[in-house]
């Protein structure tokens, strides 16, 4: 079984647009959306949800005001400035809380209980292109890495059960916890970049992360004709670092048009852009 993750470092370079098109082109596969903060792939694949699951990630403190003696011990040990005393009363700020549980452990009167935190949902769904696993992290919640891992594990289970040889993952932006959870152990990282200084800078960082975790990397330059000089710089950098540029996509309004229609671009049109994307898929699947 092969797992391909589509990532970018910088946001908004076209990960999801390309992931949706690959979903439409590839055969015998499962899709997973690991951008659990702001998942978008489902907007193009129109899934029917089969199973909905709650996600509990970590624990959060709950303070019993009747028991609390406002001794300040919890505030003293908290390193995340999540406990304050307001008008003599101990108050926990859950936004700053990291969920370490130290406050509950030190409380002399056991006024703090750590409770399981419901911080999102994940879904197993069916689309016209095959099964899709995706998730929604609760608003302002933590532990997105754990939720990413759940999405990947379940995509893998479905692939195994149905004898599907391929998993396509739409990844998150950035290089931190959710990206690492998406990337580690995958077979191939497809990095979508754009010919801007930011695009190049972020490509370099995310490629180093992929290298750090031993994941083979290939690159797609989206909107390459916006700045041909920068596209060349990206190609040069990739060459020096033994990374193949497997395709370039020119700037085309058709991509936004397809997006507004809620369709993968290869399903919406049959033009030069579509061909560029089909060639990319050919190159990946070889």
């Amino acid at each position: 079984m092969k797992e391909i993750v589509i990532i970018s470092g910088k946001g908004g370079t076209g990960k999801t647009v390309i992931a949706a098109s690959i979903a439409a082109l590839a055969k015998n596969k499962v899709m997973g959306d690991c951008d659990v903060d702001a998942s978008n792939l489902y907007l193009l694949l129109h899934p029917e949800i089969k199973d909905k699951h709650d996600f509990y990630g970590g624990v959060v403190p709950s303070l019993d005001l009747k028991k609390c003696i406002n001794c300040g011990r919890c505030q003293e040990v908290c390193r995340f400035d999540a406990i304050k005393t307001i008008k003599g009363q101990t108050v926990i700020d859950l936004v700053s809380c990291e969920g370490c549980g130290l406050c509950a452990l030190v409380c002399p009167v056991k006024a703090i209980q750590m409770e399981e935190n419901h911080c999102g949902e994940w879904y197993i769904s069916e689309t016209k292109y095959g099964p899709l696993v995706y998730a929604r992290l609760g608003i302002a919640e933590e532990n997105s890495g754990k939720l990413v891992t759940l999405v990947r594990e379940n995509a893998k289970k479905i692939a195994e059960k149905n004898d599907l040889g391929l998993i396509i993952i739409d990844g998150p932006p950035g290089i931190g916890c959710p990206l690492i959870a998406t990337l580690s152990g995958a077979n191939l990282a497809v990095v979508v970049t754009e010919p801007t200084l930011s695009g190049l800078h972020d490509l370099q960082r995310v490629s180093k992360v992929a290298q750090h975790f031993g994941v083979k990397t290939v690159v797609i330059i989206n909107k390459y004709d916006i700045n041909l000089e920068n596209s060349l710089k990206i190609e040069d950098w990739c060459k020096k670092n033994s990374i193949s540029v497997i395709g370039k996509i020119h700037f085309d309004n058709i991509i936004t048009e397809a997006l507004v229609k809620g369709l993968p671009v290869v399903e919406y049109s049959d033009n030069r852009t579509t061909k560029e994307i089909k060639d990319i898929w050919q190159s990946i699947s070889r």
Binding site: D37, A38, L43, C100, M114, A140, P173, E194, D202, V206
Partner: protein, 293 residues
């Protein structure tokens, strides 16, 4: 005052808006502008502002260090660690620094006092000046998962004299701008919390709308006043405008898709440097914000 610039979806133009707003405001010599790039996973503002960096600091998380002579492998440290950053076997203690949040529980509860802490570098913070603008950003080290500690350290640099008396700063001349990372989870919350106002940058596409709605929910939860900048306002559809109208969220500025702006962006050139009419537009954006606060 503290104004943060955020967006649910990546690549909508957060950094562009933050940088150009900073440059437009800093033209006024009366104003003191501070710029904090809190997108420590992929910081980009320096590419546009080209600051001269004068100070660099390591950002560390205190991780446990076990004294083998004192440790009797009782396992208490692993028991209190909710992050599974310590595992204890019969004659060995394994520490996983990448999982450690540096809460200090293990050290506090070790009955043998066998645990001390040592700093594990997860990134760096750099400070300097971009013309009159005070600049700070951070970089998460490759392979490190946790951005929030670096963001917290950047935010400690918020100039006290800028913001301590912000209730009394009736001149609105002390401005801290925060360029936030994309998304809606912990790094975003850490960046935007305690802001007086948040600008949400989006684009008029189904993705832009979907992620804007999530970002608005975050700001409602944090009780931060907010408005929208609609970038590439002439592509896509009108659903973002309809959503904003229905929810009484002001659209502070609309920027059309412009090849000239896109090309300048690709080279790291801010809009105000190629089209001076935008200086006024960004100043108007600021005026709209101070009326809302």
């Amino acid at each position: 005052m503290i104004i943060s610039i955020a967006s649910g979806k990546g690549g909508t133009g957060k950094t562009t808006i933050a940088v150009n707003l900073a440059l437009a405001l800093a033209k006024d010599k009366e104003k003191n502008v501070q710029f904090l790039d809190c997108d420590v996973e992929e910081p980009n503002a320096h590419l546009f502002l080209e600051p001269v960096i004068t100070n660099s600091e390591s950002v560390e998380i205190p991780v446990p260090k076990i004294n083998d002579k004192k440790c009797n492998y009782c396992g208490k440290c692993a028991e209190v660690c909710v992050f599974n950053a310590i595992a204890v076997t019969k004659n060995k203690v394994l520490v996983f620094p990448g999982l450690c949040h540096g809460c200090g529980a293990c050290m506090l509860f070790c009955p043998e006092k066998a645990i001390t802490e040592e700093g594990n570098e997860i990134g760096i913070l750099e400070e300097g000046k971009a013309g009159p603008i005070s600049f700070t950003h951070g970089r998460l080290n490759i392979g490190e998962p946790m951005a929030p500690p670096i963001i917290r350290k950047i935010k400690k640099k918020i100039k006290r004299d800028y913001n301590d008396n912000r209730d009394r700063d009736i001149t609105n001349n002390y401005i801290t701008l925060i360029d936030a990372p994309p998304g809606t989870s912990c790094p975003v919350i850490e960046s935007v919390k305690e802001s007086d106002y948040t600008i949400l940058v989006t684009e008029p596409t189904p993705f832009g709308l979907h992620d804007l709605i999530l970002a608005v929910e975050v700001l409602r939860k944090l009780k931060i006043p907010h408005g929208v900048v609609l970038n590439k306002c002439d592509i896509g559809d009108h659903k973002v405008e309809e959503y904003c109208k229905k929810n009484s969220i002001p659209i502070l500025l609309s920027i059309p898709l412009d090849k000239e702006i896109a090309v300048a962006y690709s080279k790291g050139i801010p809009i105000v440097k190629i089209n001076s009419s935008y200086e006024q537009k960004f100043n108007q954006l600021f005026q709209k914000i101070i009326q809302k606060i």
